[in-house]
């Protein structure tokens, strides 16, 4: 009971110090970072770790501290984060610590979690954590620091290396007309394309180029669908549905805005999608004389009427959410066909689509909006 009371008084004392410290910091800005470090130490020892970052972060970021004091401040805040299970924040701050103190090696007094995180960061930078720097003079330290600055960092600690995974998604195909054709008068034919959801799935490999840049290669099966409605003759209208089965080989570059973030990483993707059309079918329903007379045309092979080898431009925006040794992602992709989708010489095929549905291909290209997601596993993590 008495012990508890003493503990409470101790906390109140530290808390009062904290508020006093805050006021002081606000009044004298960075002049008192040394005092704040002392306060933070006391708070840390009193178990009030949540106060430590608030006391010291500004001092660290604005260089209110230097040398051993700054090193100690870093360690206090990182340890506080680790104590509070705020691993993403600890990870991020360790980046700064290692970049400023690349010759620091874990000491026996450092908590194990701190040691593990420090070693991971050093390893990510190609530094052996067990090797004590031979020359720790100021000149050598500066040389190492310079080397550190000049390194092409491809992967921060806790970040992912080359990954391999799968993706699934729903493409929405929206073709657009280049030149209108009709079995009636194209200028009076109120025709338009419509969206239908499709299905896509495949594998994707991501190769780290730089810390914020990845190259990505994929092999994806894509089943896209769209509709085309037209009124070629005043009393006759129809709705045509096309399904295209393709193999896509997306080649793209990722730009990651915040690769160090362990909670959510935003990225932009750009590239090209060469694709091969395996199979395409068309079907539809013709309505004449109002809705009283409907004629269904079954799925008809139209692969010969389509361009088989295609190229699309790709733009995507997505997020990655890290898991253990993997990340899940979700992405919105926009792709636009650079080549025309239909063939000229087979515009009027001898099939039911022409002679019963009254459909003819306009010249068109294909745009797609795809919502996809998946999982990728880090190939470099053990």
């Amino acid at each position: 009971m008495i012990k508890g009371l003493l503990n409470l008084l101790n906390r109140l004392f530290v808390l009062s110090l904290f508020f006093l410290g805050l006021q002081t910091a606000a009044a004298q800005e960075l002049v008192n970072c040394t005092y704040l470090l002392e306060d933070a130490k006391e708070a840390y020892e009193a178990g009030m770790v949540e106060l430590v970052p608030e006391l010291l972060l500004e001092c660290i970021q604005t260089n209110g501290l230097s040398g051993e004091a700054k090193k100690e401040a870093y360690k206090l805040v990182i340890n506080s984060y680790l104590f509070d299970y705020m691993s993403a924040e600890a990870d991020s701050l360790m980046d700064g610590f290692v970049s400023e103190f690349p010759d620091y090696r874990a000491a026996g007094s450092d908590p194990q979690e701190f040691v593990t995180l420090l070693d991971a960061h050093l390893l990510a930078l190609g530094i052996d954590p067990t090797q004590i720097p031979a020359d720790s003079t100021e000149t050598a330290r500066r040389g190492l620091f310079q080397k550190f600055r000049e390194r092409v960092i491809t992967k921060g600690a806790g970040e992912y290396g080359n990954t391999l995974g799968f993706t699934v998604g729903v493409p929405l195909t929206l073709p657009y007309t280049l030149e209108r054709y009709s079995l009636g008068d194209p200028t009076g034919d109120e025709s338009h394309f419509g969206l239908l959801p499709g299905l896509m799935g495949g594998v994707e490999a991501n190769l780290i180029l730089r810390r914020k840049l990845e190259a990505s290669f994929g092999l994806i099966y894509d089943m896209s669908r769209f509709t085309y409605s037209a009124t070629p003759v005043s009393s006759v209208s129809y709705r045509y549905v096309e399904a295209q089965h393709q193999v896509l080989l997306p080649l793209s570059l990722f730009y990651k805005f915040n690769p160090e973030n362990r909670k959510i990483c935003y990225y932009l993707r750009g590239g090209f999608i060469p694709s091969y059309l395996i199979h395409a079918t068309g079907k539809g329903t013709r309505t004449s004389g109002g809705s009283q007379n409907e004629l269904d045309i079954e799925a008809t092979e139209i692969t010969d009427s389509r361009v088989n080898l295609n190229l699309d431009a790709l733009l995507g925006f997505g997020i990655r959410i890290p898991l253990n040794n993997a990340f899940i992602f979700t992405e919105m992709r926009l792709s636009s066909r650079l080549t025309r989708a239909n063939q000229d010489g087979t515009r009027y095929p001898d099939n039911d689509l022409t002679w019963l549905l009254y459909h003819v291909d306009s010249d068109f290209k294909i745009n797609k909006i795809s919502l996809c997601g998946g999982v990728c596993w880090d190939l470099t993590k053990e």
Partner: protein, 401 residues
Amino acid sequence: MQKMTKYSLILMLFTVLCVSCEKEISEEQADSFIKFYGSSLMDQAGDVEVLGNGGYAICGTETSEAFGKRMVLIITDEFGNVKNGFPKYYVEEGLETGGSSLIALQDGSGGFILSGFVERPVGGSQAVQKDIFIVRTSATGEVSWQRSYGSYKDEQVLHSVKMIQSGYLLAGYRMSDGNSDLMVMGVTEGGDSIRLGFNYNNPYARNSRANYLLNTGDMYLCVCTVDKINGQGTSILLLTFDDELSPLARNLSREFNEMGMCVLGEDDGDFLVLGNRVGSGGSELVLYGIETNGISATNSAVRATISEPGADLMGERIIKTASTGMVIAGTRRTGSNQEILMQFVSSSYQAGESVGFGASGSQTGKDIELTGDGGFVVLGTNAYGESSIISLMKTDANGEF
């Protein structure tokens, strides 16, 4: 800020890539096309003419729920698209009408003569009686005059031509008690009927009809189908006559069951008659060479027969191609399906390539014309179930799109 600008630029470029302007109709659309006209109820193609401006004139029968059958004139541009102000419909006092033949007048007026039928109700019954119905129009389809001619029998025009001097000559059939016989008659420029000196009066007439007229400039040839004695099938009959309208007749078929469909002028005094020969193996095309002297057909011989295993070939029209050959338009029937047929024939009467157009349903080739670019327009009727619509195809010189 710089990054924002960069990403905005990328997004703008991509948007431009995704959104492009739609092109106007290109000239290539006139090179080949398929077009449908009508209401898709019970429409029937009649005749097509190529106009001097590159467009096309079509006559036929269009059916609507509100008006029933109506004779229709459709004028299109070179793309096959219906021109403003068309289609035009022609009826007589609200009676049902239909069109089967068209003359594009070459008198500088740009007008047309349409001929077909008008159906008059027979008093006190559900039955109707068909009379001949002729309309003369201006280039814009306005009626200059319209006439109907008939008797207590059913009359129907199948083909018409401009007469050598003046007026118009009509060929078709007259039907009585379910039996049809030849009918050829003339009308003046003003639409009055000209008394015809031809009276075939075949007592065995069942399916006889005058199918096609050719004006050579100094005589007419009329290709007919006539019934043989005692109902032993039909023969091809060629009538030759001038403005006197006193025809000479030459029977081309012998033991065969044949129907006369069309005639084509070759060299001076030589003609080629297209017929359909029906035998146990189905229907095939037959071409007769005709030599004439004056208005008399002096000699005739079979030049070619064209058949296809498992299919019935039925010719409707034959024209010369832009090169030295000929092409026949008609219908190929396989099982229950029918498709439009283009059968090429060389100048030595050898069967060349044949091209079919159609799928499920029933396509019937009705007329063909040579276009200015050496291609063809083929008029037909596209039918499925109880509905049909008029179709027009424009192909290249090989019959391809």
